[in-house]
Structures are given as structure tokens and as C-alpha cells.
């Protein structure tokens, strides 16, 4: 494990070295935003909408008491979505989708000698391949999470409305009740850290792939598992740092 940590840190030093040509790297950042960010909108939207709907129904069943006001359903749904569901659960989903893509892409480039080709041309392959992915995710993932928050709250409103468990007025009042902007800031900080973890860890496993297609598959799996474990650990650390 220490060997991996050392190798990961050395790779990060390589990744953040000065790029050869800024315009090329800028184009690559936009390319990665398209591949890692825009391509994830569909799955993030679908999951957010449905999980938001389920959360509202569960809240309604659990807060079934005459002394608790009905708008608490909207309030609790909003809190759960902003503080935990959107930044953490969506990041875990992105670790699966984006992480496996990064590890398998870079791993395949390694075993087919494309990384060697870059190195021989005089290009720093670590910077060229990993840096744009990290920046693209750190910039685009917060937008995905904001969209996720909005859609999950919308999903909750729709499910409350159609199931008759919570009225539109109560739900809207609940989601506005005691709203703190810091909750969104906290979610964004977590998202940016998780985006860095997903892309850098997946990039690391892809970059050091050795062998053939079997090893690329293994690297991809390890990238997802290690990224997910780190997201969970850093979630606890950041929550302690930012909320405790």
C-alpha cells in the first residue's frame, strides 16, 4: 500500500508539470469535459430524479406524526439531497462510470504502446493524459451535482404531488425552510475533492497497467474500488472538517 501511495504521489508530481503547449491542453480539457462530464448527464439526471422521488416517499412514511409539520418532508429531503445524496452518492456513481473509463482508456494506451509513443515524441504522457481529465472533472462535476440537486428536489416534488403524501405548497415551503447557502458550498467542496480523487486514482491505475486486456480489466476494477473507498473515507474527513 505504501508503495502505491509513493508511486501515486510521484505520478501526481509528473501530472502537474508545466504542459508543453497550453492551447493543446485547453482543447483537451474541453474534450474531456465532453467525454467525462456531458456524457454523464443522462445517468446523473435519471438517478437523481428517481432517488429524489423515493426519498420524499420514505420521508413521508417516517415523519408520519401529528406533531411534526408536513413541510418537514421537503426540508429533510432537501437536507439529505444537498448534504449527502448529490455530492457523495452521485460521486460514487461517477467513480464507477468515469473511473472505469479513465483506467481502461489509459490502460489500453499503455499496453498498446501509445504511452511509449508519446514519451518518445518528447511529450510528458502523465500530464498529457491525466491533467486534462482532472481539471475537466473538477470544473464540470460541480455543475453535474448542482443539476443533480435540482432534479432530485424536482423528483421529490413530483412524487409527493402524485402520491398525495405531501402537497405542493408544503413541499416548496419545506425546501426553502431555513435554507443555508453553506450546505451548497459544503457539497461543492466535497464534489471537487471527490472529482480529483476519481480522476487521479483511476489515471494512476490505468497509467501503471502492465500486460494485456485482462490486466486492463483488472486495473479498471481496482480504479473503481479504490476511488470509491477513498470517497467514503474523505467524505467522513471532510464532514468532520466542514460541519463538525
Amino acid at each position: 500500500m505504501l508503495r502505491h501511495l509513493g508511486q501515486y504521489l510521484l505520478l501526481m508530481i509528473q501530472v502537474f508539470k508545466k504542459p508543453e503547449k497550453k492551447s493543446i491542453y485547453l482543447n483537451r480539457i474541453f474534450f474531456e469535459m465532453d467525454k467525462l462530464g456531458l456524457d454523464s448527464i443522462g445517468i446523473v439526471a435519471f438517478i437523481s430524479l428517481f432517488v429524489g422521488a423515493v426519498l420524499t416517499i420514505q420521508m413521508a412514511f417516517n415523519i408520519d406524526s401529528p406533531i411534526v409539520p408536513i413541510y418537514t418532508i421537503g426540508f429533510a429531503t432537501r437536507k439529505s439531497i444537498i448534504l449527502e445524496f448529490a455530492p457523495t452518492i452521485i460521486s460514487l456513481i461517477l467513480a464507477g462510470k468515469v473511473g472505469s473509463r479513465i483506467a481502461s482508456e489509459i490502460g489500453t494506451m499503455r499496453v498498446t504502446e501509445q504511452i511509449d509513443a508519446l514519451e518518445i515524441m518528447g511529450v510528458n504522457p502523465a500530464t498529457y493524459l491525466i491533467f486534462p481529465k482532472i481539471i475537466a472533472s473538477m470544473v464540470f462535476n460541480p455543475l453535474l451535482i448542482l443539476m443533480s440537486i435540482a432534479l432530485a428536489i424536482l423528483g421529490g416534488w413530483l412524487s409527493g404531488l402524485f402520491s398525495g403524501l405531501v402537497g405542493s405548497y408544503e413541499y416548496v415551503y419545506g425546501i426553502q425552510f431555513q435554507f443555508q447557502m453553506y450546505d451548497v458550498t459544503y457539497a461543492m467542496i466535497k464534489t471537487v475533492v471527490f472529482a480529483f480523487l476519481i480522476t487521479s486514482i483511476s489515471g494512476y491505475f490505468g497509467y501503471y497497467t502492465k500486460g494485456g486486456s485482462l490486466e486492463v480489466g483488472e486495473a479498471s476494477t481496482r480504479a473503481v474500488v479504490v476511488s470509491s473507498v477513498n470517497i467514503i473515507i474523505f467524505n467522513l474527513l471532510l464532514t468532520n472538517l466542514l460541519l463538525a
Binding site: 503547449k21 493543446i24 498498446t112 501509445q114 509513443a117 518518445i120
Partner: protein
């Protein structure tokens, strides 16, 4: 000229290269031949700096490549073109983008100039009307030719080819050999070819270095190799019925 001086390389407790000293001359096709596992790929990877040598040095026109910093190495690497066994074309780029890549990274040429150069290099390797295709849409021979076009696009002084004919039919392999030979003569570059294809040896072997169990065992050219009395080399070169008949 490229020179390897007393180069040794060990992986774990297995010494792959044992004190290899060899010169690769300018304007010639310098072939490294040897059985699988003899150390010729490791030697080539040491030459281009993908592996660090344990002992000895690599000189590119008297510039000590093995002692250079990353930034200094980068300058020499821009003078190197390399053709990999599988082509190593970038999957996410079209044929044209692959050939333009070294120019985009290291020159200040406009898009038009880069496109002109890419088209020239592609026509030089007889690839036409394929600029917008992706590597996955190309045949093995086409991939190799595009890889050659990419290797020569930035006017290299040194060209390295790792098993350029592997996986190709004899006719296409011959086309690739001839192409490498023409480019070497035309641009007067130092070409180093790693191969175990005897057709290449006979066709374009201006200088041949035979590596046996990690050591430089024999040196000569396509004429002298046919009449050598070196046992290990003869076992390698005349391993098939066809080559034995050819010798007779």
C-alpha cells in the same frame, strides 16, 4: 550516428543485456536481429530512453543521452521517429490528426501548414483518401504506413522501427521494408530496425547486429551474413528449409 557503449540492463536477477557496444550508422538501415528473448527489444528501449541503462551509455551524435535530464532528453526525442510493432496510433485521433500530432505539439505551424505536411507524409507512404478514418478502421499494413508517416512528419534525424513486419503478409511486409529503406536514403537518417524477419535482413540489411543471449554476437551486412561460419548465427538465420535452400 547512434552508439551504445558497454550497455548492461538487468531486470530483477536476470541480466538481459551484457556489456553491449554497437554503432548505428547514418544513412543506413541498421538491423538488430536475434531470437525472441535475446534482448533486442530491451536494447531498442534502452536506445530510445524508455528503459534506463544500468551501466554504459547511449550517444546520439556524441550527445550522451543516458545522462541527460528530462528536459534535455526531450530535445533529442523530438529528433526521433519511432514505428512501434502494433503501430501505436492514437485511437481517439483520425489518421490526419495522428500524423499532425508531433507538429501540433512541437512546432508553431498553422493548421494549414500542418495539414499540408501530414498530406505530404501520407502520400509518401501511399495513403490517400483516408485522412478522416480512425485507426480501428485501418488494416494492419495501413496502420504501419500511417505510423511511418507520423514518425517522419517532424523531420526526424533518427528512425527506430520495432518489428515493422510482424503480423503482415510477405507482400505488405516487403512494401514496408522498401518504404523504410527509401525514407532512410532520401532523408539520410540513422535508422535502427529490430526484426527477426529474414526477408528484411536480405532486402535492406545495410548493417546487421546479431544479439545472442544479451550479447552482441556478430556484426556484418546482408552479404556477409550468408557466408558466416558463426554457429549460433547460422542456427538462427538458416533455421528454416527455405533459407537453407537459399544458401545452397
Amino acid at each position: 550516428m547512434i552508439e551504445a557503449k558497454n550497455v548492461s540492463k538487468t531486470f530483477g536477477d536476470h541480466q538481459v543485456l551484457k556489456n553491449v557496444s554497437v554503432k548505428f550508422e547514418k544513412g543506413k538501415n541498421n538491423l538488430i536481429i536475434g531470437q525472441s528473448g535475446s534482448g533486442k527489444t530491451v536494447l531498442m528501449k534502452c536506445l530510445v530512453g524508455l528503459y534506463e541503462v544500468d551501466k554504459g551509455k547511449i550517444l546520439f551524435d556524441d550527445r550522451n543521452f543516458s545522462k541527460m535530464s528530462f528536459a534535455e532528453m526531450k530535445e533529442i526525442r523530438q529528433e526521433i521517429g519511432m514505428l512501434f510493432q502494433g503501430g501505436a496510433l492514437f485511437d481517439s485521433m483520425t489518421v490526419e490528426e495522428n500524423v499532425m500530432f508531433p507538429l501540433s505539439m512541437f512546432t508553431r505551424q498553422t493548421l494549414e501548414e500542418r495539414r499540408d505536411r501530414a498530406n505530404f507524409c501520407l502520400s509518401r507512404v501511399n495513403i490517400v483518401n483516408s485522412n478522416k478514418l480512425y485507426p480501428s478502421e485501418l488494416s494492419g499494413g495501413m496502420k504501419k504506413r500511417v505510423a511511418i508517416a507520423r514518425a517522419i512528419s517532424n523531420h526526424p534525424k533518427y528512425l527506430f522501427c520495432d518489428e515493422p513486419n510482424s503480423g503482415l503478409d510477405p507482400k505488405t511486409a516487403n512494401v514496408i521494408d522498401k518504404l523504410i529503406n527509401e525514407i532512410t536514403q532520401e532523408y539520410n537518417i540513422t535508422t535502427v530496425i529490430n526484426t527477426h524477419d529474414m526477408n528484411s535482413v536480405i532486402e535492406i540489411g545495410d548493417k546487421i547486429s546479431y544479439i545472442y543471449e544479451g550479447q552482441l554476437w556478430w556484426e556484418g551486412d546482408k552479404t556477409t551474413i550468408m557466408h558466416t561460419d558463426n554457429k549460433e548465427l547460422n542456427d538462427f538465420v538458416f533455421a528454416t528449409e527455405l533459407t537453407r535452400k537459399l544458401r545452397k
